[in-house]
Amino acid sequence: MIPTIGVLALQGDVREHVLAFEGLGVGVRDVRRPDDLEGLDGLVLPGGESTTLSLLLGSSGLFDPLATALRGGLPVFGTCAGMILLATDVRDGREDQRRFDAIDLTIRRNGYGRQVASFETQLAVPSLGEALLPAVFIRAPVVEAAGPGVEVLATLPGTDGAPDRPVVCRQGNVLVASFHPELTPDRRLHRLFLDMTDEESG
């Protein structure tokens, strides 16, 4: 069976994730309404504005069924804003910003700074092989703390005395990245997510 991956398509860089998964030969579906969740093998929460996404998740009626699906083990991959939506604790967000509480992380929104501080780099991700992974950080969220159940797959070394920060994390069915693997051609993180959907269905 070819798996079907849903991409939350309310706002953000939806197309890049769609193209990434299409390139890996799986089925992809835009998710805008609750019935779009039917029969998905995995879901992506893309980059975008987390405050906007939070609001649209509420008004579209997607929030509650999605929260239920995540508790039921639906594999989910969140990048940047998507990671913020999945975390248990969000700093510098809006009071009314909604979260799925799906991965035990303390996140600071825009923690790496405004757009002028956005950057590209190369990350070591030992579990994905020796080659460094290109990573684009855009007004990116900082992971300030990761709970004991969280597996940290990659860390960004601190500069100028700042601490090292986790930037790729996994807990159970949840995979998150502070940056945008969908903006670069390296598909190892998207593949890793497909492996997670295999484990879930197998």
Binding site: A9, L10, Q11, G12, D13, V14, R15, E16, R32, G47, G48, E49, T51, T52, L55, L56, S59, S60, C80, A81, D92, G93, R94, R109, N110, R114, Q115, V116, A117, S118, F119, E120, T121, Q122, L123, A124, L132, V136, I138, R139, L156, P157, T159, H180, L183, T184
Partner: protein
């Protein structure tokens, strides 16, 4: 730089084209709202805007007041930056690279080199490659869009006719840009040269469009959006996000209008949803017939 780039997390270049275009990509499917103070910025954020455009007067007022329209007061931009967590954009005059330098120094997230302000240079747009902050520029046709991209723009928006509440010009510009892109994807190799000449655009960009079928940067719509249905229209035509200038805060109920445009942009193909959010909005901004205008802002820039 080269000796650190092979070290994990070593090289960390900022202001690369990928980083600039990346922010434009994150705004897709969203609404960018013009705001003139912190209070309006909060209303925009509460309504689900993906970014705000800080400016002293919305285009409808600039049009009414006449005179020279310039970059906004830095204090006002700082006030808006402090009020919201969203990306903050601000406008510089066409060709006024010193205004752009000031905006960059203030740490704005995106600069709009905008025909809504009075142009400062009649022959040259800003060299946008010289900046780490990304730029958006207006275009009325594909040639203009490609010239702006060759100057370093990370996002293109239709010019439309700002401050009129009349969508007809934005529709014309979007159809022109997207129509020519379609034609170029059908063109053979020899025809590329003629297209480059006709559009007065770099051959390399024309060839890239022939291959990908899209602009190398996101294409947003601006200039005349006044209702949720306007947003749905331009999104269906192929815009990837919308700017709303006067349309929000010149309507009778800005919060409601802002929220409705956000919903209609996200669900632009869902007509029953657009119908629902269009209900009971009060008055949209007063519109103007294009033929009655004294000044055509879209004619500024080249």
């Amino acid at each position: 730089m080269s000796d650190t780039s092979s070290t994990p997390g070593g090289g960390r270049p900022t202001g690369t084209f990928t980083v600039k275009r990346g922010l434009a990509e994150m705004l897709r499917g969203g609404v960018i709202m013009d705001v003139v103070d912190a209070e309006q910025a909060k209303i925009a954020e509460d309504a689900g805007a993906v970014a705000v455009m800080a400016l002293e007067r919305v285009p409808a007022d600039i049009r009414r007041d006449g005179g020279v329209a310039r970059m906004s007061d830095p204090a006002m931009i700082e006030g808006i930056k402090a009020a919201v967590t969203l990306p903050v954009m601000a406008k510089a005059r066409i060709g006024h690279f010193a205004e752009a330098q000031v905006l960059a120094a203030l740490g704005v997230d995106f600069i709009d080199e905008s025909e809504v302000l009075t142009p400062a240079d009649e022959a040259h747009h800003i060299d946008k490659w010289a900046f780490e902050v990304p730029f958006v520029c207006g275009a009325t046709n594909l040639g203009e869009a490609l010239r702006r991209i060759s100057e370093g723009a990370a996002m293109i928006r239709s010019k439309g006719e700002a401050g009129t509440g009349n969508i007809v010009e934005a529709v014309r510009h979007l159809r022109s840009i997207l129509g020519d892109i379609k034609k170029i994807t059908q063109a053979d190799q020899a025809e590329m040269f003629a297209w480059a000449k006709e559009l007065q655009a770099p051959l390399g960009l024309v060839q890239e469009i022939a291959e990908t079928g899209q602009l190398p940067v996101p294409l947003f719509c601006a200039g005349g959006i006044a209702t949720p249905a306007d947003a749905s229209l331009v999104m269906q035509l192929g815009a990837e996000a919308v700017f709303v200038g006067s349309g929000i805060f010149k309507s009778s109920n800005p919060s409601l209008m802002a929220r409705a445009v956000v919903e209609a942009t996200a669900h632009f193909t869902d007509a029953s949803l657009v119908a629902k959010v269009s209900t009971g909005l009060g008055d949209a901004m007063a519109g103007q017939e294009i033929s009655t205008l004294g000044v055509h802002l879209a004619e500024r820039g080249w």
